[in-house]
């Protein structure tokens, strides 16, 4: 159970061991690295994504958090090579994934990897399955595409995956159409489809946002179990910091198309450095269980044409000073933990202030 105390403690111990390993990860352990990614949509003045770096090690769970509209989905789509080629203009960005290097300004992830070694679960389970085809055929199609083999083998694999994601009476499901399934069931099908080819990297973009609250925990638990079972590197995009605390190894915080802070989960929760992260932490119940003030960050994300120069958070930041018109670099606080604010590391500045 998610709320089981002993389990949580055990998990924390596991996580911290993993954390140590992750800190010392050498180049070979890096499964996916996205470097200096910049993108604008045609007709816009400013970049929607403005210099984002991300990396995921084999077996690592990276959570990306941030208010909606800050570019999480666009970043995920860019990794998968799913951005519309007509309107998305990528001015810089290199993707290294599992031995392959892709210059995103000219290319996208090869279709052999897409849906194979890298797979994605979307935010919209209700509309992500093709209404015209049977569930079984839609999963089997992906299996055939990447593993080849006979139709029977693909069908067996499909059945195995439907069982694994916990759909009741999987044999009957094979022949059903999407409209015969509930939202939660459809998301299970999407998960089965994404994991059918044993991906090395799984991207889940707010996989539970569109679902009933009662179903959300089940789906997340399923993703977490499958991830642990197979050691799949995972990027989980979520609003839910409670979920982050449960399953993340590392956390990346995005604001206005920039990476403002990233680090091991414990540090992000216990020692957030960026004013935006601090604001986020205050707007949710704390890890320890006692409910903190539910303050939210004042105001809202400016639209892309109103984005300020320099630190994009400065229209809402309580600490903003004139120097913030200059873009702060992502600076290390401790090894593996970095934040993009002129006042980082905070403690040092606070001490000076005292």
């Amino acid at each position: 159970m998610l709320s089981d105390l002993t389990w949580t403690n055990l998990a924390l111990v596991q996580v911290s061991q993993k954390e140590i390993a992750l800190l010392h990860k050498d180049a070979n352990d890096v499964l996916m690295a996205l470097g200096d990614f910049r993108l604008r949509f045609r007709g816009q003045d400013a970049c929607v994504i403005d210099g984002v770096d991300l990396s995921v090690a084999r077996g690592e769970v990276l959570c990306i958090v941030g208010e909606s509209g800050c570019g999480k989905s666009v970043t995920a789509m860019a990794l998968m090579g799913l951005l519309p080629s007509g309107s998305a203009e990528i001015s810089s960005g290199t993707l290294r994934f599992d031995g392959e290097t892709v210059d995103l300004t000219r290319d996208r992830l090869s279709s052999e990897r897409r849906g194979g070694a890298m797979a994605m679960i979307f935010q919209e389970p209700m509309t992500s399955l093709n209404p015209a085809f049977r569930i079984g055929d839609q999963i089997a199609e992906s299996v055939l595409q990447h593993r080849g083999g006979s139709k029977e083998q693909a069908r067996d694999r499909t059945l195995e995956m439907l069982r694994r994601v916990g759909l009741p009476s999987p044999e009957a499901r094979l022949r059903q159409f999407p409209h015969q399934l509930s939202g939660g069931q459809r998301q299970r099908v999407m998960i089965a489809m994404a994991l059918a080819n044993d991906p090395k990297l799984l991207i889940a973009d707010e996989p539970t946002t569109a679902l009933d609250v009662t179903i959300q925990a089940q789906i997340l638990e399923l993703i977490r179990d499958l991830q642990r079972e197979r050691g799949t590197g995972t990027i989980l995009i979520t609003h839910d910091l409670g979920v982050v605390a449960e399953i993340a190894d590392t956390v990346a915080v995005m604001y206005g198309g920039q990476m403002v802070e990233r680090g091991p989960v414990a540090q992000i929760f216990d020692d957030p450095q960026h004013p935006y992260t601090i604001g986020l932490m205050e707007s949710v119940p704390r890890l320890s269980g006692e409910r903190a003030r539910l303050t939210t960050i004042e105001g809202s994300v400016p639209s892309i044409d109103k984005m300020p120069e320099g630190c994009r958070f400065r229209t809402r930041c309580a600490f903003a000073v004139a120097a913030c018109a200059e873009r702060p670099a992502l600076r290390d606080v401790t090894p593996g933990h970095a934040a993009a604010c002129h006042f980082v590391p905070l403690e040092q500045h606070l001490r000076v202030a005292v």
């Binding site: 897409r114 849906g115 797979a119 979307f122 399955l129 209404p131 085809f133 595409q145």
Partner: protein, 314 residues
């Protein structure tokens, strides 16, 4: 699903009833006494009265209608005032000619219009899309008679590749029959291809941005599979519906083309009948055409249900 079809059929019956009243009523309102046609120069009142009695024109109108409708139900649409042939026979002779023309035109329309629509939707906003739209618009604006005459002059007269006119039944010489009808079918088909292209384009635009098309791409499928399987399958419903309705329009719209290529089809029958005030024939033709439209509509509805798993499995 079965109950849906039954319901549609039940709606068709009163529709046909209304149409038959309309067809019959129009006849009565039209100026000109059909008997004058029949009697020719003969204006002898006694003769006219005899004919009136013979064709039961002295009965009250509802009785006349009942007689006419009852006969029509039994397949008897009366006698042509001009040729004395049964109308049903006339129609049965000419309809297959026009159906062949319509079928061949439809093949042209589908083969040109659907791929062009898919391509222009997929390449929306590019040169390809632009060219397809300009060509489609030209196709719609160029009058059929002009295109027909040009084709005859060029292909038949100058290059002598295809026969300029006439009709050969497929049973006699299939290949020659197809060859003879190639140009008229092309003329009729291109105009429809333009309509079909625009419909295909808009249907495809609707589905190409859908989440399930994104999912298909996320599986690593080829663009061909993404577009032609995952997107097109969902755009198919409006396209098939449209095609079925176009077919009805084709039969009606063949009139002009048949005149240009002197094809002895339905269209020629209509024109001759109207000019000759051969009212029984006109009535029969309108009724058969209307019923044909209703049947095509019914087929379109069925296709709609059969193509939709949501409706089919209900």
């Amino acid at each position: 699903m079965l109950s849906f079809f039954l319901r549609r059929l039940l709606i068709a019956i009163p529709t046909i009833f209304l149409i038959s009243i309309f067809v019959f009523g129009l006849q009565k309102l039209l100026p000109g006494d059909p008997l004058l046609v029949l009697a020719g120069e003969e204006r002898d009142p006694a003769v006219l009265e005899f004919l009136r009695e013979k064709y039961r024109l002295n009965d009250p109108i509802p009785v006349q209608y009942m007689t006419w409708a009852g006969n029509a139900l039994r397949g008897d649409l009366g006698i042509s005032l001009r040729t004395n042939q049964p109308v049903t026979e006339l129609i049965a002779q000419k309809l297959p000619v026009t159906l062949q023309l319509a079928m061949m035109s439809l093949i042209f329309a589908v083969v040109i219009g659907v791929p062009a629509g898919i391509l222009s939707a997929y390449r929306k906003g590019t040169m390809v899309d632009w060219v397809a739209n300009v060509v489609a618009l030209s196709g719609l604006s160029i009058p059929n008679f002009w295109l027909g005459i040009m084709l005859i002059l060029l292909v038949s007269v100058k290059w002598q590749l295809l026969p300029a006119s006439g009709y050969v039944p497929p049973g006699e010489d299939l290949w020659l029959s197809i060859k003879t009808m190639l140009m008229p079918a092309f003329v009729l088909g291109t105009a429809l291809a333009a309509t079909l292209m625009r419909h295909t384009r808009s249907a495809m635009l609707g589905v190409l941005t859908s989440d399930y098309v994104r999912t298909a791409r996320a599986k690593g499928l080829s663009e061909r599979k993404v577009v032609l399987k995952h997107a097109f399958r969902n755009a198919l419903t409006p396209i098939v519906t449209m095609t079925a309705l176009l077919f009805g329009e084709l039969v009606a719209g063949a009139v002009l083309t048949e005149q240009i290529f002197t094809i002895p089809g339905f269209g020629k029958l209509v024109v001759d009948a109207v000019f000759n005030r051969d009212y029984a024939v006109v009535q029969g033709i309108v009724l058969v055409t209307a019923v044909g439209f209703i049947v095509m509509n019914l087929l379109a509805d069925m296709a709609y249900v059969l193509l939709n798993p949501r409706l089919r499995e209900a």
